[in-house]
Symmetry: C2
Subunit: 341 residues, 2 copies
């Protein structure tokens, strides 16, 4: 890695810590740089920045009104004196790409507010890149002193599920009339949500949907912590305190109703996670994930380069194609190749 790229990234990271918004913005751009040296240097510099005190994952199907909701919640948190970051994760899918285009031009009501930072990120790149890139971006916002950071995803796909696992509090947004089948929800949503939002609560069926969710929750076993289920529980520290009971909130993002109650719920959940042994367990599990994501991405990038034109392992592909080497031996050769640290 070039010493120059490293120096630039370090300078930007230091400025970010001092609350320099433009430095934070530039650092995120460098993280997303197509130039591997630049991206790698930025990722390294960012690793030393802290995660935000409270990350709220917000997910739900397209059309659930997530963007308007985030806008509304941001306004409430600003009134309470919190600095708010928003990371909108665009899975770069041909099908959802359109839906998220709107994100880039939204939040216009907060545009002149230096206490709000909005960033869309997408990643078509290396395997496992999305979660690693999102955790990098979270550290930039944490370093820049934002108190609450929303990570907004469209709830579909493996990579997006991993992103949700980055959040302290997971908020699942539903609307009445979108899916007429409560079965759909039982399959997995109940496992990941700390808070449910029934958005567009003025629509017919909103109260019924809330009841259905509450009923389904009553049937599902309690969890100590949803985040831990996502992360795995490899670093158990023996927490045996009370369990978190997911809350269901009726809300209208458009009419600005119910937001204060939801924000209270979010903060209640954050306070819940602060219980000593639970907090330690969460920190360790999240660090293990982050180390793994970063290592995997770093190795993937290095191997990709080694298989590309001019790369040291390029001959392997030709040998495989010509039948001189089997796939398995090629994989083993790649694994044994030195990954540039």
């Amino acid at each position: 890695m070039s010493p120059k790229a490293a120096a630039t990234a370090e300078t930007l990271a230091a400025a970010t810590r001092n609350g320099d918004r433009r430095a934070a913005s530039k650092l995120i751009s460098q993280l997303e740089s197509a130039e591997p040296e630049t991206a790698r240097a930025a990722s390294r510099a960012v690793a030393a920045l802290p995660l935000p005190p409270h990350t709220v994952g917000l997910t739900g199907p397209p059309g659930a009104g997530k963007s308007t909701l985030v806008d509304y919640l941001t306004a409430i948190l600003r009134k309470r004196g919190k600095r708010v970051g928003v990371v909108a994760v665009d899975p770069s899918s041909p099908f959802t790409g359109g839906a998220l285009l709107g994100d880039r031009i939204r939040m216009s009501s907060h545009r002149s507010d230096t206490g709000v930072f909005v960033r869309s990120m997408s990643n078509r790149g290396a395997t496992g890149g999305l979660a690693a890139a999102a955790s990098d971006t979270l550290r930039v916002l944490g370093g820049a002193g934002f108190d609450v950071v929303f990570v907004e995803t469209v709830g579909a796909g493996q990579a997006e599920t991993q992103v949700v696992a980055l959040a302290d509090t997971v908020c699942v947004v539903q609307v009445p009339g979108l899916g007429d089948d409560i079965q759909l929800m039982k399959m997995g949503i109940l496992e990941i949500a700390d808070l449910f939002v029934v958005n567009k609560s003025d629509r017919p069926g909103a109260r019924e949907l809330k009841l259905q969710i509450e009923q389904a929750l009553g049937e599902s076993p309690g969890e100590v912590c949803r985040a831990l289920r996502q992360l795995g529980r490899d670093f158990a520290t023996g927490y045996e305190g009370p369990k978190w009971m997911p809350e269901v909130h009726l809300l209208s993002g458009l009419d600005q109703k119910g937001g204060d109650e939801l924000v209270d719920g979010m903060l209640r959940h954050r306070a819940f996670l602060n219980q000593p042994k639970l907090a330690a367990e969460l920190t360790r599990n999240r660090l293990a994930r982050e180390i793994l994501w970063r290592a995997t991405r770093r190795a993937g990038d290095a191997w990709e380069a080694s298989l590309a034109p001019g790369g040291s392992l390029r001959k392997l592909v030709g040998d495989c194609a010509d039948g001189k080497m089997d796939l398995e031996s090629a994989v083993e050769k790649v694994l044994k190749a030195k990954v540039k640290p």
Copy 2:
């Protein structure tokens, strides 16, 4: 790796090559085993099996009628004497999980037909696992002698886009009235589809949608090959023949109309890819991807194990949590750790 697991997997792979359906089924189960030794042994054994002669990626938004369509196309291909495999990729998302539940109980009309093999696969597991696991499954079906294999995904998310890149022919399914915005399609679908299907062609707006797609295609630059765009073109061999012009087909899966024309289009596209230099380029690019996916998954699994309880790198996480080591140093230590081949 235990010699016993390896021997079992090798035996199953050999039986699969002899057309033993139950062996193929068991091999896929072993690929998905929660027991790492078993899964690894299976993946290794499978690497020596050939890919199917024709893999057709089928993607589109939820509700586009993909399942019914696959069922219909399978019937047509069976009449033409082809053996057909279907791999339904379930991204394990709480939001799409429900939609795909139906896949597991569908295709009932082909249940007693030994020339049809249906498998749903999901992967909540390691980073990059979905594409690697799908390519493993494709090799099992190729080894078992299936002529055409459909890989069906819900089009959303990074991992699913990678799965599409495994296919020779990419078929994008749309329906009139689902998204009212053609802009959505322009953003990315045009780049990946070799064939468009306007499904539910009896609905109002079907012909208009077909026209809109054709118009959009007319405005987009031609591609030598969509698959190569997905894979990257690192292994260019100098193909300069004609370009493939994507076709748009009206179809009704429910009324069984238009399927023969679509199947003809799929086979036309497969024939197109067989042009000497193009075929070589595709093979090399796909092999490079597969080597990369396999190596990344293998490394990710090994590192995950090393960070888990009893793992050799577990202390790193504690050191990071206690502030004795920074994240970046931990990542470097993981990268330098030997990956069990």
